[in-house]
């Protein structure tokens, strides 16, 4: 337990260091307005990372969330057809699609015992293909007028998207840390055989984690649709890797049984700050990539070194 705590703290240290570095580079970086903006930008990635954390705690991985997000965006845009009255149907079916794909992933991985990385990558490739077959590779569907108004609006001065993010963080933290399901995930990830022998329903836990991951993917897709205003198959592309990186930075491991929602949130903040910082610095795209890569490499290296020092 103690090492788990330190893992969480270590990444927060990196977040603080990056914030301190940010102040001279981009004045106003720490202003409330900018921070809220940063959270708004971080919301889709954050939501996806929550689902991935649950899956990774159970020693699995989910690479299909980016493709799910993209398909959810296309689906809800197509189904709402420019009419407010069809919003519940459109959003409901997109979320349901996420849940069904997650359930299928879970079945393949938990029941069929398929290799999760390649399986979910295969599912992602398949979904992207379906997506492009349906849309013909172009923007698709007409948004309902109130859809963007609500999701891009603010509650007081807090963007609605940030409210959604915070709510989902609280729910995810409760589910992972306070429920039997959450404990089943940790036990499954730490030692599946022992967990199963002790009466933990390991398969059900894994399938549940994938369903949640699929749903978070769909929600992220809907939020991205609201942000960009047009659906397309590029929405959500590559999110799975950012989300994995965020979770791993936050102390979740591929070996399972470890990780926390707080750590993942810190990982998401770190990556989002890195991305926002290079944007605010006004750098051209290639320098953005270089700085972003440098920050990720530096953070993961420093974090590993400090963690080792703390342990010895």
């Amino acid at each position: 337990m103690k090492s788990l705590d330190w893992r969480t703290h270590g990444i927060w240290l990196a977040v603080i260091v990056l914030a301190l570095v940010a102040i001279p580079i981009a004045p106003g970086f720490l202003s409330p307005r900018n921070l809220l903006n940063l959270l708004r930008q971080a919301a889709p990635l954050g939501i996806v990372s929550l689902g991935i954390t649950l899956v990774m705690v159970a020693r699995r991985v989910d690479l299909s969330v980016g493709a799910i997000a993209s398909l959810a965006a296309v689906m809800s845009a197509a189904l709402m057809g420019g009419s407010d009255s069809r919003l519940p149907l459109a959003l409901g079916s997109a979320v349901l699609m996420g849940a069904v794909v997650g359930w299928l992933n879970g079945l393949l991985v938990a029941r069929g015992r398929l290799e999760p990385f390649v399986t979910t990558l295969g599912v992602a490739i398949l979904l992207t293909g379906v997506n492009r077959l349906v849309t013909g590779g172009t923007a698709f569907g007409v948004l309902a007028p109130s859809f963007r108004k609500v999701l891009n609006g603010r509650w007081g001065s807090v963007p609605i998207v940030v409210v959604v993010l915070v709510l989902l963080i609280v729910v995810a933290a409760y589910v992972l840390h306070k429920t039997r399901f959450g404990r089943a995930l940790y036990l499954t990830g730490a030692n599946e055989a022992a967990a199963w022998l002790s009466g933990v329903k390991t398969r059900r836990a894994v399938i549940g984690a994938y369903v949640i991951s699929g749903v978070t993917g769909a929600i992220a897709g809907i939020l991205l649709l609201a942000r960009y205003g047009i659906s397309g198959n590029l929405i959500g592309e590559g999110y799975e890797f950012d989300a994995l990186a965020a979770a791993v930075l936050g102390g979740t491991t591929f070996e399972g049984g470890k990780g926390s929602i707080a750590g993942t949130v810190a990982g998401v903040l770190l990556l989002s700050m890195a991305y926002t910082l290079v944007l605010m610095g006004g750098l051209s795209y290639h320098w953005q990539l270089i700085v972003r890569g440098g920050i990720i490499i530096g953070a993961v290296t420093l974090y590993a070194i400090t963690q080792r020092k703390a342990r010895s």
Binding site: L108, G112, R113, L114, E115, F117, V118, T119, L121, G122, V123, A124, I125, L126, L127, T128, G129, V130, R132, L133, G137, E192, A193, W196, T202, R203, F241, L244, A245, V248, L249, F254, Y285, H286, W287, Q288, L289, I290, V291, R292, G293, G294, I295, I296, I297, V300, T301, Y303, A304, I305, Q307, R308
Partner: protein, 332 residues
């Protein structure tokens, strides 16, 4: 733990066994392809598939080595993305510059491999996140170097090597030599056993006196070097310093390696499997092209086949794991 492996030979057959489903898939694809498409089973098409599979095969070998040692390398795709324009710029259409250009590409691979390896082995950085960051960095440098344009010019002799056939296409010979060398190292040398031991259980390997850090470093260096060779082959195929030449290669290489029996838990994988895995991907792409399947539908089929082969592996290989063997053998 598993009841057996007692002798090194037993151990080796355990380690490489995961490649069989990919091999079965290759045979099936060839049978189906011959039945479904007239131009599939021609010499010309076979040579074409070999040309296509060569870069991916080389990358899959490198990835298999890293996976065997318990790591992962996501930077190889963007490493190719940088090495291809760099090689084309160095070559500058000049036959005398061919060797320096190849050395530059291999050198870049070595350098990136050393950085990855040192940071993973000595600093303890997580390989997935680290090489993910390296991927972004290398892509940025590529765009900086090329300004988003195709740059450089290949030399006539370099182009001739890749269009000519010496029994097999030139690229296929490069793959063959590298595959034989890798197979020899993994099977018959101390380094091969060290890689396997490090990936199976790093702590036990360390206690047995194996220099785990150095072994890990070597795995990443080899992965980088193989990406350098891959870049030479990609440049040979494209004959242009195209800045997006490497996109997506890292995932294809990982998929090929995993299809071929490697695993993220480390300590598994074989040369034979990696080649079979790469061939599965190349044959599917080739066959779908010949059948005139649309690019989007191709993706759907490719995704389905990847899941299918992994499923085949799960169905046939239940007793194969050295680690976590119990869960895989006996979950109800």
């Amino acid at each position: 733990m598993l009841g057996r492996p007692e002798t090194p030979r037993d151990l080796r057959s355990q380690v490489g066994k995961g490649g069989r489903p990919a091999f079965i898939a290759v045979v099936l694809l060839i049978v189906v392809g011959t039945a479904a498409s007239a131009p599939f089973a021609t010499t010309g098409n076979a040579l074409n598939v070999l040309r296509q599979v060569a870069p991916l095969g080389v990358l899959a070998l490198g990835q298999t080595i890293v996976l065997l040692a318990g790591g992962i390398d996501l930077s190889v795709g963007m490493l190719i993305g940088l090495a291809v324009p760099l090689g084309a710029l160095t070559m500058a259409g000049n036959d005398a510059q061919v060797v320096p250009a190849i050395l530059v590409m291999l050198g870049l691979g070595l350098a990136v491999g050393i950085v990855n390896g040192v940071l993973v082995a000595w600093a303890g950085a997580h390989p997935f996140v680290l090489t993910f960051g390296m991927m972004a960095l290398l892509q940025g440098v590529t765009f900086l170097l090329t300004n988003y344009r195709t740059v450089g010019k290949t030399a006539p002799s370099f182009a001739a090597f890749f269009t000519a056939e010496f029994g097999l296409p030139g690229a296929a010979w490069v793959l063959t030599v590298l595959a034989l060398a890798t197979g020899f190292v993994l099977r018959y040398t101390r380094l091969g056993r060290y890689l396997l031991a490090t990936g199976s259980h790093a702590e036990y390997a360390r206690r047995a006196g194996i220099r785990v850090k150095r072994t890990t470093l070597i795995a990443y260096v080899l992965s980088g070097l193989f990406a350098g060779f891959g870049a030479v082959l990609v440049l040979g195929r494209l004959q242009a310093g195209y800045p997006l030449a490497g996109s997506g290669f890292e995932l294809q290489a990982i998929v090929a390696a995993i299809l071929g029996g490697a695993a993220f838990s480390g300590g598994q994988g074989s040369v034979f499997g990696a080649l079979a895995g790469a061939l599965v991907l190349a044959l599917v792409a080739n066959l779908l092209n010949l059948l005139g399947v649309s690019a989007y539908l191709q993706q759907v089929v490719m995704g389905g086949i990847i899941v299918g082969v992994v499923g085949l592996r799960a169905a046939t290989g239940r007793r194969r794991f050295l680690v976590h063997s119990w869960t895989n053998a006996k979950a109800p």
